[in-house]
């Protein structure tokens, strides 16, 4: 019994160290999305480029990425070349978030437009329904319209290999 009493504080300390050590590699800005496993929210917005009405039914019928971006977002500009490259493998749908039409169109004219569709969401209504906290965010959606993954921040080679690819393999 005495022996246990001696070792108990050390055990508790070791458990705490375990938790703290894990905490070192966690990014507190990355929140689990409440929409994982949920269908893509219903929306009625317009296409930025054509001005035509867009609804959930017009979204791709194969696994695709939905990229939330805006012309005021610096990181979006950083990840843009990588998304352009990715768009050759799978459709990338744009969600232009809390932006103005002119600024968004100028941005695309300057940096290129790899997007299969461009949902124009100036008020951030669809962003709110998706639980978007800020741009950029990227969602992986399957062929049935179910959300499988949310990435907050830049999408690059490392994020693709570590997060997107493993999930993509399970839904293809």
């Amino acid at each position: 019994m005495n022996r246990l009493m001696v070792w108990l504080p050390l055990c508790i300390f070791a458990i705490l160290v375990g938790f703290f050590f894990k905490g070192l590699s966690l990014n507190p800005n990355e929140q689990p999305s409440a929409l994982i496993g949920q269908p893509f929210p219903v929306f009625g917005l317009t296409d930025l480029m054509t001005g035509e009405r867009l609804t959930r039914e017009q979204l791709p019928r194969q696994p695709y990425l939905l990229n939330v971006w805006a012309s005021w977002c610096i990181t979006c500009q950083v990840e843009h070349p990588y998304l352009t490259q990715l768009s050759k493998q799978m459709p990338v749908v744009g969600l232009n978030y809390k932006d103005t039409e002119t600024a968004a169109k100028n941005w695309l004219a300057k940096l290129g437009d790899p997007y299969a569709l461009q949902i124009f969401d100036p008020t951030g209504r669809l962003g709110l329904d998706l639980g978007v906290a800020g741009a950029p965010e990227t969602f992986l959606v399957d062929s049935k319209g179910v959300i499988h993954l949310r990435i907050q921040g830049e999408v690059n080679d490392r994020v693709y290999a570590k997060k997107i690819q493993p999930v993509l393999e399970t839904i293809q």
């Binding site: 689990p32 999305s33 929409l35 639980g131 906290a133 800020g134």
Partner: protein
Amino acid sequence: MKKSILIACLLSVSLCLQAAIETYQFDSPEQEVRFRQLGYELRCPKCQNQAIGDSDAEISGDLRAEVYRMLKDGATDDEIKGFMVARYGRYVLYNPPLDKHTLILWFGPAVLLIFGGIFVGFRIRQSKKALEAGESQT
């Protein structure tokens, strides 16, 4: 003269500051109280340790506007919180409800306190015994 210019400058600054604060019109004082309360209980998804009520982040402004819109539509506090949780997860609740996911959060400290109390009691008893044993020897 200088003084009046200074006062004019200061006044213009204070007007600017006032313009940055959102003004919402409420139907009743109770509704305003509920709005403030929800502002304290909902957490800003972008800025870690701030409630949407005192955060200047863009998203907090959007969420406040949404809370306001829902209050005006006659939604209950639970409906508004449910709406936010469905989109931003449990993370947005500063006052987490008691359920199986939050058991450790609610009762963990009490359990630790009880164990600590038992431990301390045990040690005191032991040292007393040791002391008594020591005294009886001398």
